[in-house]
């Protein structure tokens, strides 16, 4: 293994501590503060749409965008990612198990990737 440009240990540790502090603050403070107040109904309603919105955005980010980038010549109807995603959705509908659905999605993904040859 050839080391790429190695970093100074002090810098590494400053970044590690800083990242831990930043992440914990961003994650914990909004949760802790907002759980102590009763949010107004319109805000609650808006927050109710956030999870599905996040999931739609993540689906696009982890399935659609890499597909466009990695294999621009493979048409969407042959795309392993889209097949795997739809497979996972269908299996989840039938089983209601995230584990089984994830494994099924991975299986379909590997199978289609092998069949299409990407």
């Amino acid at each position: 293994m050839s080391a790429v440009s190695e970093l100074a240990p002090t810098l590494i540790w400053v970044v590690i501590v800083g990242m831990a502090a930043t992440n914990f603050t961003l994650r914990f403070v909004p949760m802790a503060v907002l759980s102590r107040v009763t949010l107004p109904a319109p805000v609650m309603r808006w927050l109710g749409f956030i999870p599905v919105s996040v999931m739609g955005a993540l689906f696009a980010q982890v399935i659609l965008l890499p597909s466009f980038e990695a294999a621009p010549n493979v048409p969407l109807y042959l795309n392993p990612g889209i097949f795997g995603g739809l497979g996972a959705m269908l299996v989840f509908r039938l089983t209601r198990s995230f584990m089984i659905a994830s494994l099924a999605g991975m299986g379909v993904y590997v199978l289609v990737r092998w069949l299409v040859g990407v």
Binding site: M1, A3, V4, S5, E6, L7, P9, W13, V14, V15, I16, G18, M19, A20, T22, N23, L26, R27, F28, P30, M31, L34, S35, L39, A41, M44, W46, L47, G48, F49, I50, P51, V52, S53, V54, M55, G56, A57, L58, F59, A60, Q61, I63, L64, F68, G84, G85, G87, A88, M89, F98, M99, A101, S102, L103, G105, M106, G107, Y109, V110
Partner: protein
């Protein structure tokens, strides 16, 4: 005593529920471990970094920014920007967590990621989650990430490409399933599809050469998707209760349920 048993049952259920996250985190954690090793992180530094930051994309961005010659502040700002969505996640979870003890709340905050958020919010909506099951989801996710980092660092590359068995698709498959779990009615479906389309749109604009930072895509698209949905489905002249029934989200009702459990004479699911 009896409460401890109940807590253990819930905690174990959380560990099981989080298994797909574990499956997805090990290979991605390994990829981080390999990269960290190449960039001069000691084994301890790589492990501590993963164990304390628990930030997939954030950690990769920190590495690349560092190697590009960025100083500590640049790295932290870059990492903070990509993790701003956690504020949104925390706000969304907050109504459910009213009676959660502080130390458990701290653990839930510490282990809040895209994946734990998604699993827990789906479980909360289904009415099954307690803070103990959520803590379990956090433990299994954290273990997968740290274990993956260790495996990656120690293998230093001879493992080969960890993605060849399709494990790179574990998270994508889980998000697909979660989309189905969360899209409870057509309003929710429209909202999710809208946010997804927006990410694709932003990507298209960026690929045309417009300077757009891809780290913002998820946050922008989620905020916009939910906002458009709220205005699109206005239900004018209806009471808040009727609107909630039309949305079929029932956030408040479930939140109250979790509260009353905590207040019950048995000490509740999340009591001390």
């Amino acid at each position: 005593m009896q409460n401890d048993v109940v807590h253990t049952v819930h905690f174990r259920r959380g560990l099981k529920l989080g298994l797909p996250i574990f499956l997805g985190y090990v290979p991605v954690g390994a990829a981080f471990g390999i990269l960290a090793c190449q960039y001069g992180f000691s084994f301890v530094a790589a492990l501590v970094c993963s164990a304390t930051a628990l930030a997939g994309a954030g950690q990769f961005i920190a590495l690349t920014t560092l190697v590009a010659g960025g100083n500590a502040l640049t790295v932290l700002v870059a990492c903070g920007v990509v993790n701003l969505r956690y504020v949104l996640f925390g706000a969304t979870l907050s109504p459910y967590l009213r009676h959660v003890p502080p130390r458990i709340m701290a653990w839930l905050g510490f282990t809040l990621t895209d994946e734990t958020f998604a699993i827990n919010i789906a479980d909360l909506r289904a009415g099954d989650a307690t803070c103990w099951s959520m803590a379990g989801v956090g433990v299994i996710a954290w273990t997968g990430w740290v274990l993956g980092t260790a495996i990656g660092w120690l293998s230093s590359g001879w493992l080969g490409d960890p993605t060849r068995f399709g494990v790179d698709f574990a998270m994508a498959a889980m998000f697909s399933a979660l989309f189905v779990a969360l899209a409870e009615n057509w309003r929710q479906v429209v909202c999710g599809v809208l946010a997804g389309a927006l990410v694709c749109g932003l990507w298209l604009v960026a690929s045309l050469g417009v300077a757009l930072d891809a780290n913002w895509f998820i946050t922008i698209a989620s905020l916009a998707g939910a906002t458009v949905a709220v205005f699109m489905f206005r239900d004018e002249g209806k009471s808040p209760e009727e609107i909630a029934a039309n949305d079929e989200i029932l956030v408040t009702e479930r939140a109250v349920r979790l509260d009353s459990r905590a207040d019950s004479s048995t000490g509740g699911e999340c009591g001390e």
